[in-house]
Every structure is written in structure tokens, then in C-alpha cells.
Symmetry: C2
Subunit: 186 residues, 2 copies
DNA sequence: GTCTATACGAAGATAGAC
DNA sequence: GTCTATCTTCGTATAGAC
């Protein structure tokens, strides 16, 4: 019974899960094949350049998901505090309360770093700017807002690592819970 | 001219550099062999279990270095602020101002995670406690001190990632510069 | 303690049948 | 669009000479 056993979107979701768990180099075609239920050749049919294309598809998918489900919160017509609250709630959901690793961490190391570092540099800069804009709306100077936003991104990334190392999601949850207040504290 | 072309300590230092750059799975024996100047068989002579032993030696070496050169600052007979300042200066040097990656990040992913995660859980807990003790000396409650210390470790890890993603060491440098003041802010 | 040689499986990748 | 088969390269690991 040939016919798409799985949709491309579903395949990409499972590919992302493998990258999250094993990193770029650790995500072997065998693991990707098992996770998707697709044979090696089927993977190459969908992703002609193999792992690089799968990683690119993973990045595109994650970016699109965030652009649809998380970032818009920062542009809604709401008070700064509520915008930030919706945003951090969205992020906490995205990272499954700290269970999931972030590709910004995984894909800026080793071989993947040479391929994707510039992608993530742009993404991180854009994220900091988007948060800073909201903080600025709340009455902080551009420089102060930018530093606070950078600290927020640092806290997200650091909390993911500390939670992973400890095997305990509470640090991540605490950071996300307190983030809005910290961004707006006088 | 057989004879140790390189000391074991020097070999371990170069092995650590490879792990830092490529992560655990990305650190192939070929790369480790090139970095140390030792043939594959020589590596197995020094590290009978191959990569696992090299990673263990890397961890032991890093732990010993920190225990000698960085952590003692937290136990010196100095005011809390000066202890923390010496400590953060030591860490900044250890991470080469943000240029170096942290093994806590790299070795808690993928296969390495299964091998070493518990090692890092212990290390992170011990580090948080050591920082918290000093913060407590400065007059904060145990709970408050512990949370502040956890935030400090989160900031270190996050700053390393953000600096790496941006290709810019300034976020890390800023975090280290401001860490003492943040830990002791009223 | 280092080297060359080699074994062996895993990884990435492709060809061609269905 | 998926499969089996195949290919090559790379990674890990060992044997044995020097």
C-alpha cells in the first residue's frame, strides 16, 4: 500500500523531535528513519540533500510555528504587561515547560554551527528587538529595554540548560513565571 | 623516536578543546587524533574505552581545574562581594570571556546525556549551593539566596549560548560584569 | 608508547524496481 | 512515494610490529 503513510508536516515534526533529543550530529538517518517510519530512500525523496535539508525544514517549521503562535502576542493591542504574559505563556508551551531543548543551542555547535549560526544570529537579534519594543512601550529607555530583553533571552536559554542538567523542570517554570515582572521591574 | 610526544595532561587539554567545539557525538576519533597528534592506537593506549574514557578524563580535568582555580574564591576570608567578584572573574577566564562552550550544555544532550547527566546534575546543584552560601552571608534568607544563585547559573549558561548564537562575546561579558551586583541587589 | 594495518559496523547517499 | 539493494566513506576498535 504505497501512498503517503505520513504527511510531510507530520514527518517534519518527528524529525524535529529527533534533532531536539540528539542534536544535529547525533541525529542519524537511522534514527530519523525510525522516527518517521520512512525508509532512507523515502527520506531522500522528500529531502534530496539529506540531513541538511531535514534540518532546514525543521528550522523553517519552527520559525513558522513561532511566527504564528508566539510572536504575534508581542504586537497585539494590549498593555505591555499582558503582551509579555501571553508571549511567555506561548514560549513555555513551545518548550513544553522546559522539557524540550532549543535548536538555538543545538544547531550553533559543531558542523551545524557552520551551516546555521547566521540563521540563529538573525533570529536572536529579532527576538531581542521584539521584546525590547514592548519593554520600551512600558516606559523604559531604548538601551535599558534592549538590555532587559537580552537578559530575558539569556534567561530562557539558560533555564532550559539548567533544567535539562538537573532533570527538573522547575527552574525553567520559575523563570518563565517571573519573566514579565522582571522585564518591567522599576 | 618513540617517547611521549605529548604529556597526558596536554593531550586531555586538546581533547577538551575538541569536545567543546564539536560536542560529544561530533568529536570523532579522527578529530581527536588530529588534535592530539596521537594515532588512533595511541589514543586507545591512554584511554582503553575510547571516547567514553576521553570524555571522563575531560570531565575530571575540568572539575579539578575549577576546584583549584575558581571555586576556592567562594570560601576565602573576604567580604561576600569580593568573593563573588573573584569567583566571576575566574569563571570569565575559564570560559575565555564567552568564547568557550560549557560541557554542561554539550554533555547533557543525546548519548552523552545518558552517560553524564547525573554528573552534571550534581555539579550544578553543588555550584548553586556554593554561590547561595555566599549570598546568604550577605544577609539574604536561604530561599532567596538559593533562587538568586540559581538565577546566576542560569545567566551564565544562557549568556554562553546567546553569545555563541550571536557570534558576539559582549552579552557574556556584560552578564559576568553585572553578576555580583545582581546577586547582592536589595 | 607509538606506529601500520586491518576488521567491522554505522553513516550518508544513490540506483532502480514497483 | 516507497521499497530493496548497493556503494562509499567514516567511525570505532583491535592486533601486532617496532
Amino acid at each position: 500500500m504505497p501512498a503517503p503513510v505520513i504527511s510531510r508536516d507530520e514527518a517534519v515534526d518527528r524529525i524535529i523531535a529527533v534533532f531536539r533529543q540528539y542534536g544535529y550530529e547525533g541525529a542519524s538517518l537511522t534514527r530519523l528513519s525510525e522516527a518517521t517510519g520512512l525508509g532512507r530512500s523515502s527520506l531522500y525523496h522528500h529531502f534530496p540533500n539529506g540531513k541538511v535539508d531535514m534540518a532546514q525544514a525543521a528550522l523553517d517549521s519552527v520559525r513558522a510555528w513561532l511566527a504564528t503562535n508566539v510572536f504575534p502576542a508581542l504586537s497585539e493591542d494590549l498593555p505591555p504587561e499582558e503582551k509579555l504574559r501571553k508571549f511567555t505563556d506561548g514560549l513555555a508551551h513551545f518548550y513544553r515547560n522546559g522539557e524540550r531543548a532549543c535548536l538555538t543551542d543545538l544547531f550553533t555547535m559543531g558542523e551545524a554551527g557552520e551551516l546555521f549560526q547566521e540563521h540563529f544570529a538573525k533570529g536572536v537579534r529579532a527576538l531581542i528587538k521584539a521584546i525590547a519594543r514592548v519593554v520600551q512601550e512600558a516606559g523604559f529607555t531604548p538601551d535599558d529595554a534592549s538590555t532587559r530583553a537580552e537578559d530575558a533571552v539569556i534567561a530562557i536559554q539558560g533555564a532550559l540548560i539548567v533544567s535539562r542538567a538537573l532533570g527538573d523542570q522547575r527552574p525553567f517554570q520559575r523563570v518563565m513565571r517571573d519573566m514579565t515582572a522582571k522585564l518591567l521591574a522599576r
